[in-house]
Amino acid sequence: MTLDFTRRVEVTLRLNGRDLTTVVSARTTLLDWLREDIGLTGAKKGCNEGACGTCTVLVDGHRMNGCLTLVVQCEGRSVTTVEGLAGADGVLHPVQQAFAEFDAFQCGYCTPGQLLSAVACIAEGHAADDASVREWMSGNICRCSAYPQITAAVLAAAREEPGR
């Protein structure tokens, strides 16, 4: 069977718990779509080449770079951004609460990506100790260098809600 190539593609996915269907240009990245089309600006565009991690989101619970993911590759998947972390009642996610308590940021630009990455890091079981957090959080650059506080926050949140 010959495949049908199109520049506009219909995609159905779940975004922060809500099902939606959209039509996108095939080349649209998940990051650009979230920020420009949907208006969710939590995921940040830092390097736009997979080097900084500020665009980290969860796809089916796995952390990924929004700038290296096409929307068309998310067909049938569930995407979580920082806007979907807190409860509907506004209660912060334990990882968000830990970042606030440990002052795990300065300018805050990398924080949404750090938070999503930390949620996945804990769920994966990679937040056992200082060394594993530093290794498994290395994909999120913080140019204010709040790394000690970020590490402490991830470890504290992991103690509260351990992963697998």
Binding site: L3, F5, T6, R7, S25, A26, M137, S138, G139
Partner: protein, 357 residues
């Protein structure tokens, strides 16, 4: 980013059919292709998505082989018990590559097809300087400029770039085979021959070629012969995590359990406590070792592999063996340090693979 038309493949064959049109690229994870489109490195008008093909997924034992599907991500491979048991160097190489979030997207099929990290190559078009890979025949700005991270084997005046893949080094060391599907059917390519140096490509009359994969062919997976050898992957880099290798080394070692160095030789006089301990180092029965980021291909040290059986597993004994096997290195003016660094990485990988501290 470059505009393109998109289709989802329903079978591997349907994807290969679309590749008959040279303006078609495959996307799996996309961590390389999207950046190529941004920089103008790839010029495809059509993209075929193989990401939904379950036939290319999975990690399983297949008789004496370990079979890894092309769509297995680096994180899946790095943490899979079958891989950590039978191919520890590959698991380690996968987990030392990129970052946790890139490893969730990047697949082992695409990883070995990544292009060099040479900054003169990875710049946005139009390139303000000559680069042979971007504009064939234009010359190598790196050779005339900065080249401390570049090749010490197999380079030419046209290009001095290295292949940066970590998993490729382990696959070449472990004698993995790539399963490939093309218009003429399926075939296998040994991973120790998969990549080409600039000199090999030039000698074959195809100076732009970087791999033995033919246009229109798709990697569907890999097969690794089962191994009980101790293994290690040593990656030397400028920061402890999330960085490309300056050099790397993959090794597999089987120890000779029947005799320790010198200990069973009855002609040797007994020595003091210190001497006996030193002589107690195990000897190597068989070893494999490959270097990474020293050439445009993983660099098996075949001369060393021939010499290593019988060699004691000590830094002192291994170092001259590796040195002899690297005697044909031709460093560039700024990267002589890579010869020493690669030698030491190979020795460290062998020691770790053999279980020495």
């Amino acid at each position: 980013m470059r505009d393109f038309a998109y289709a989802r493949a329903d079978t591997a064959e349907s994807a290969v059919d679309t590749l008959a049109d040279p303006g078609t690229s495959v996307i799996a994870g996309g961590t390389e292709l999207l950046n190529w489109f941004r920089l103008g490195i790839a010029a495809a008008d059509r993209v075929v998505d193989i990401g939904g093909l379950d036939e290319l997924r999975g990690i399983a034992s297949d008789g004496d082989d370990l079979r890894i599907g092309a769509l297995a991500t680096l994180n899946e491979i790095g943490e899979h018990p079958l891989v950590t048991q039978a191919a520890g160097a590959l698991a380690s190489a996968c987990l030392q590559a990129a970052s946790a979030q890139i490893r969730n997207r990047a697949t082992i099929g695409g990883n070995v097809l990544q292009r060099t990290r040479c900054p003169y190559f990875r710049a946005e078009e139009p390139l303000p300087w000559p680069c042979h890979k971007r504009d064939p025949g234009s010359g190598c700005t790196s050779l005339a400029g900065r080249h401390e991270r570049q090749a010490i084997f197999g380079w030419t005046q046209d290009c001095v770039a290295v292949q940066p893949s970590d998993p490729a080094v382990a696959l070449a060391m472990l004698d993995a085979q790539a399963d490939v599907l093309g218009p003429a059917g399926s075939r296998t390519i040994p991973m120790r021959e998969f990549h080409l140096t600039q000199r090999e490509a030039a000698e074959a009359g195809q100076p732009m070629r970087e791999t033995r994969l033919e246009p229109g062919e798709l990697i569907t997976g890999y097969r690794l012969p089962a191994s009980t050898d101790g293994q290690a992957y040593v990656k030397v880099r400028e920061r402890a995590s999330y960085e490309y290798a300056i050099v790397s080394a993959a090794a597999a070692v089987r120890l000779d359990r029947t005799r320790a160095a010198g200990a069973t030789d009855p002609r040797r006089p007994r020595q003091g406590r210190q001497g006996a301990q030193r002589q107690g180092a195990p000897r190597i029965a068989a070893a494999r070792v490959a270097l990474g980021s020293v050439a445009q291909r993983p660099w098996r040290l075949t001369l060393a592999e021939a010499e290593l059986p019988g060699t004691p597993l000590t830094r002192e004994a291994l170092t001259p063996v590796i040195e002899r096997a690297m005697a044909d290195a031709v460093p560039l003016p700024q990267n002589g340090f890579k010869v020493l660094m690669a030698r030491n990485a190979a020795v460290r990988a062998l020691l770790a693979a053999g279980g020495a501290r």
